[in-house]
Structure formats: C-alpha cells, structure tokens
Symmetry: D3
Subunit: 163 residues, 6 copies
C-alpha cells in the first residue's frame, strides 16, 4: 500500500465527499446464544465504516482515538440487514469526528435506528505519528448544523477529560 | 428469523427501492501471497451484496442460482476500499437478475471499476421452495435500459443452456 | 443451551466471583494497514469479556446496553499480547456496569494500559426481555470504592441522557 | 515466501500433476438463514482450489482472471461435506483454464454434483506482471477430450468478449 | 441436518471408502509473527479432516475423543499449500482411530511430511450418546499392516491410561 | 514487531511470571452439527494460550514442537464459557513444556475440567532458529512438584521417540 503523503491533496472537502454507506448481513458467526448480534460486533462494523470515512476525507490511514457514549437501542437479529452510514462532522488539525448511524432492516423491509455513535479518528503517517488533514468544507445548512453540534460534543468531551 | 410470507407485500417496486451499497476494507485475511484480494473473496462480497439486494426486492430470503461470466479487470490491494453496488435489473415469477459493480478505491481517492457481475437469485420459502416475487417497476429511462439489456442477457443464457 | 431460569441462584455475589481475565494474541487478521489492531476489534474483545463477566454474575445471558466514552491511549501491534480484565462494579434490578481494562504487553514483557472502558449490560430471558439479577456483595474497601465511582458514572449517564 | 522464478522448472506437465482435491465441512459460519451454504462461500472455495491447481502447474503464484457462467444446481446444507476437485484443462503462454467440480456429500454417503465451474488464471511474478507457464502435456484420451472442450470454451469466450 | 440413524447402513467398509484428501492454502490469518502456521491451526485442520473421515465411515456425526502425541517436524509458511490425508485404521464398537498425515508443499513443488497424527473419534447420536459403527473391512496387505499398527497403538494407549 | 533479542533479559523466572488465563465464549462458528465445540477448535485455543505462556517466559516468539496425548473428557456446548490456564512446568536450553488446563463453565456457574494438555514449545529467533531461553525458578512446593512430573513426562517422551 503506497501512501503518497508528500503529494497529498489538502484542499477542503465537504462531508458528502467522504460519506460512507456500508451494508452487512447478520450471520450466525455474529450472534450470541439468543441469536442477536453482539454489541462488540456492531461496534466493530461501526469502527471500520468510520475509519473508511475518515481515511476518505484525509486521504491517509486514520486510527480510532475515541468513541463517545454508545447506546444500543434495539437488538439486531440473525438474518437482519444492517445499514451503516458514516459522515465526517468536524475536523481539527490532525483529528476529526465521524458520526455513524446504524439501522437494522428486517426481511419485511421495516427499518429502525439501532444505534448512533460518534468517533474521533486521528490521521497518521506510516510511522503512526499524527499528520495534518484537509479542512472540512460546509456547503449546506445540514453540514453547518452537524458541525455546530459536533463543536458542542467536543466542548463536552474536553470538559469530561478535565474532570 | 420470522418470515411473514402469507402477508408479504407484493406490490411492484422500482430498482431504486432495493439498491444496495456495500463498502469494505481489504484486510490481510482477504489477500494472497501478493497482497491482493482473492478472486473468491471478491465474489463472496458480490454474492452477499446481490443477496441483500434480491431479498430487499422480494422481502424474503433469496438464494444464488447462477453467476454470468465474471472478469477481474484490476487487482485490489491490501488497504484499498471496495465499493460494491447492487441493483435488480430484471424479475421473473420467482427469480431475478442482480447487477453488481465493484470499484476499487485507493488511499489517494482514485476509484476504478474492478469488476461487473450479473447474478440470478431465486426467492425461496422456509423449505427452500421457489416462491413468487413482486414485479419490477421501471420508472426512468435508465431503469428501462438496464431491463432491456437484462432481457438480452437472459436470452443469451437460455441459448447457452440449450447448447 | 438450556438456561435454568426458574431455579437461578439469586444470592448476592462479590465482584471477585465474576471477575474475568482474557488474554489474546494480536494476529494479522486483527490489524490495519499500519499493523496495529483496529479500534473496533479491541472493542469487540472488550464486549465479549464484559458479557462473560455480566453472565457470570447474573447466571443468565446478558446483552450490551451501552458503552461509556472510550479512549484509545496506545496503539496495539501485531504480535503484542492483549490482557483484558472485566469486573462488575455496580448492579441494578436487571442491569449492571462492567469495568474493562485492556493492557498491551510487548514481547519484552513491558505492560501498559491501552484502554479502560465501562459498559452497561442487561440480563435477558430467552425471549430477550430484561430479568432480575442477583445483588452485588461489596466485601472490601476496593469493592466499595469501585461501586461508589460507578454510582457517580451512573448519575452522569442519566444526566447526559436527560440533556 | 520465496519464489525461485529464475530457476522455475518449465517442462511440460500433465493435468494429473496439478490435480487438486479439497474437502470441506459446511459449518454455521458458511450458511444463510435457511441453513444452506452461501453461493459466494462456495465460489470462494472453488477459487482457492483452482488457484492451488494453477499454482501447482505453474510453480508460481496465479491470480483469478475470470469465471465462466456458474450454475448452482443443488443447495448444500449445514453439516454436509463438500468435495471439490480442480484440474488444468488448457494452457496458453501465461494463462490457463481450470475446471472445478463441486459435489455435496450428505451424512448417509449420497454424493451429488452441486456445481461445475471453469476459471481462467494468470501466472504472475512478484510485481503482479504475467509470466510464462509450462505447457500442458496431454497423455490420455480424457486429457485430450478435456483440452478440446476447453478450446471450444475459449473460442466462445473470445467471441463473447468481442460482442 | 437429518441423520437417518434408524436406517444407517452398517455393512463393513474398507479404509479406502472413507479416505479423505484435504488441501488448504496457508493465508496470513493462519500465521504467527514469523509468518509460519500456528500449531493449533494445523491441528484444527487435522481434526476437521479426521472428523470427515470418521463420519464418512460411520455415516453419522463423530466427535474427537483423543489425539496421540503429535510432533511438528517442519514449519509451514504463509503461501505454502497443505496436503492433509485421513484414513480409518481401526474400529471398535462405537469408536475408531484415524491416521492423518500433513505434507507441506512449497511453490516449487517440493513436498515434505510436516506432521503425522493419530486421533480417536466416537460416533454419537443426536443427543451426543455413543452409537455403534460399521466394522472395518481389510482388503489389502497395506490395510492389514495399518490395522495391526493401530492395535499396537491402542494397547499402548490403554497402558498409558492405566499408568 | 521488534524483538530486542540481543538485549533479552535472561534471568530466571518463576512459573507464576508467565502464567496465562484465557477466557473464551463458545460461538456458533466454533461448533459442529451437534452444537458442541470442535476438538480442533479447542486445541487451537490451547495452542495460542500455551504459545503466549511460552513467549512470556522466553521474551521471544516460541513455536509449537509437540503435543502429548490429549483426551477430551467432556463436550463443550455453544454458549458455554471456556477457561484456559497455561503454566510453564519445565525448561531446557531452547525448549520448554507448558501445561494447559481447559475448564468448561456452564451458564449456571458449574465448572468442570474438559481437558488437560502438555505441549512443548521452542523459542526461535526471527529466522526460525532455536535460541536460548531463561531458566525456570522453582519457588514453591507446587512449582517443584509440577517440574518433577514434567521431568517424568519428558523421560517418557524420549523413550517413546526411541521406540
């Protein structure tokens, strides 16, 4: 895997540029004794989707720095389809926030939110050291609303860490 | 997994209704000694994407009946992102054709078609017997073009089988 | 798997009773393009360890309800050993908090905290409905200190959810 | 993995030399909600068997170039044994055709053809560039019959591609 | 999976009837930090091959009862092909011995014995209780030699257990 | 993975230093058609636990040299927890013996020995050549008893190999 870091394109990108849609089928290997997907399996998909999203924005490998509080709202069953969507909501110098939404879809087509998670990723060079990322370009009212909520979550996080 | 077959909604659906986008990251476990994804691993993702697409149209479990000729145009490397999109192009009484496109995306953002495949899926009941599916509603010129090309592939397939 | 729910032993248990130690080796299949373990892979192990811990306390299957904020402090490399320890810190009527600590251990024996996470699990019957769990018996000063910190986290969580 | 390309033995080899027999047990992780093996899982085994067969003929790594039409004739169930056999049927300068037959075997010993597939593999050097392979030595009438059918499939493929 | 136990065919079968050939490719997910296959991974393949062999003789599910001493003679590398062959060498009333040989095959075609193992399997009904198996029919001198060596190993095992 | 071999700490270590506790949950992907864990899957966990234990003593990568006779005493079911503990019992110049005990734990808390195994591991450098390991420091009567039994098993092994 070649990472042309020197020549990385650092122009600002909109959240739409890096948006990720991931669809998975819940198989026996993902489930516990009740036939529902493990929480950790779901977070594992969430992390991959968020990491692809962050990497697409940064055009370099990004690693997970943190996850905010995560609430599992609904069990996801063997045979359900999982729809995961990730979007960059905030960028700093070397890190960014990615919002991931997970919907479960049953065979009859019903779709319900099972989870929403916010993860922070850091862009790293091949030695694992943080490196700069392009800024986020906010083009629509929705982009701006997402970004402003992300700013609030970030303030809360810094406050929590100070505690 | 309960399949409310008796009460399945059989109204016609457009190809957009069941369209599937799947995004995967190529990890060491997917690659051969050259660091590129196995052909069979890629077909495995293609089959899952196509199966979700077929199941979304049929609102019941669908199983793979056949794959048309598949050509691997480009190697996909460890660290690449794979974008897979599936769409129903044709429906019969119990079977349908799904077109799957696979694009490889490198870390610098370049995206290239690596594969296009056409699969036939059959909708089955819980005993594995074929059961009827809703018709396909063609709403746009693109839908109609896709469907007409699918008709031609189907004719060719029947001809090949007769050979 | 038979779950003798009717006859479940509901006597109070100390945190030591259900304490879990899990040791894993980081293999190629757990790592990203930099050769470090995915955040989601680590959370997946954390979730299994916490679920075993919760199930050991409750003597019934428990499912993930939530994870608190999780910060990844150190990268974990291919070939490192991961030491995970889980302990029940708080119990309610049907739910409990599990603290999970993850240490990375390098081949030269150095061991460092890579992660600390707090998860809430709910004990469920075979239909997935919450069911009562035994109370937690606090025997030592450390048990009591852990429990009192867990009470504070719980208050914060309820406050966050109200926001 | 060392590939002594410079000194590769390029003498002609019979199809018997590289023939591959692969036996697999269908486990829960290979199956869908009906308890039957996924089409993509079966193709994944077919691809590995064909790749081993091609590599055994070429004495170098070979990668999948294409699969011909594949028809799934019978469902393969959880607990069934899968018998896969691969044989090189045709060789060109850098590519070859491999025929793969998949039989399902039930616990009572009944064995039935579930699939026959034809794949084209290309022999590559460590940079992924096509490199020459040894010729195929046809020793028996069966070898010659297989080869002549392969020539016909190849003509059809070239014709299809021209379309 | 239906197991027609009542009507199981209990006529004597030769070792050739149940002989198993399994071929696997060593992938990154099978290897340790040195790029060689884990001992446990190899034993896992040996166990599946032996279980298929035992099940083929018994025409019912068989479970592992024991493994004799196992010596790993050669490292097996990432990219090597593994050839596993299993054969029933001895049968009792409900149990049997299976000999498994593992050869590593390098890309240049060299093939060397990496492991020989002897496992005992017990045939069980759907409740996991031992059930009778068909006798072994010894047709050739090689069958008889294998069987007589198996008798000696069995005597040694009984003696070891008595110790 | 960096292995500071030149500066490896070779001071004697007690068996407690390298003791390993591994806890696993039996999932569908680990089980056969009867819903019990495969023998090979269990040995695979045993091998990883033993390898971590050996590596922790040696402070370098260790590879499996042999397993003694292994008897599976109890089936382990889907949903059971597996408790594995490994301890170094004997050291030579470059090899050591590791004892691994496997207990199955059912949801009601009952814990029973399912397996005891003795494995020999060899410490290797990055080229796979055997390299010296630190001596074992026997501090307690239990350490000495374990070591003396290991000496007897070693004598028996050498005798068996001579046969």
């Amino acid at each position: 895997m070649t990472q042309p870091i020197a020549s990385r394109d650092m122009t600002a990108r909109s959240p739409d540029h890096s948006q990720v849609t991931m669809t998975e089928l819940v198989l026996p290997q993902h489930t516990n004794a009740l036939g529902t997907a493990f929480g950790g399996q779901v977070l594992s998909w969430v992390d991959i989707a968020a990491g692809i999203c962050a990497g697409r924005h940064a055009r370099a490998v990004c690693v997970t720095a943190s996850f905010d509080e995560v609430h599992f709202k609904l069990p996801i069953h063997h045979g359900d389809v999982i729809n995961i969507s990730g979007v960059v909501t905030w960028t700093g110098r070397t890190s960014m926030e990615v919002r991931v939404r997970v919907d479960r879809e049953q065979i009859d087509g019903r779709r319900q939110r099972a989870l929403e998670a916010f993860a922070t990723f850091v862009c790293v060079d091949t030695d694992g050291r943080p490196q700069p990322i392009p800024p986020l370009e906010l083009l629509t009212d929705e982009h701006r609303a997402c970004h402003s909520q992300a700013e609030q979550r970030r303030a809360r996080r810094l406050q929590n860490r100070a505690r």
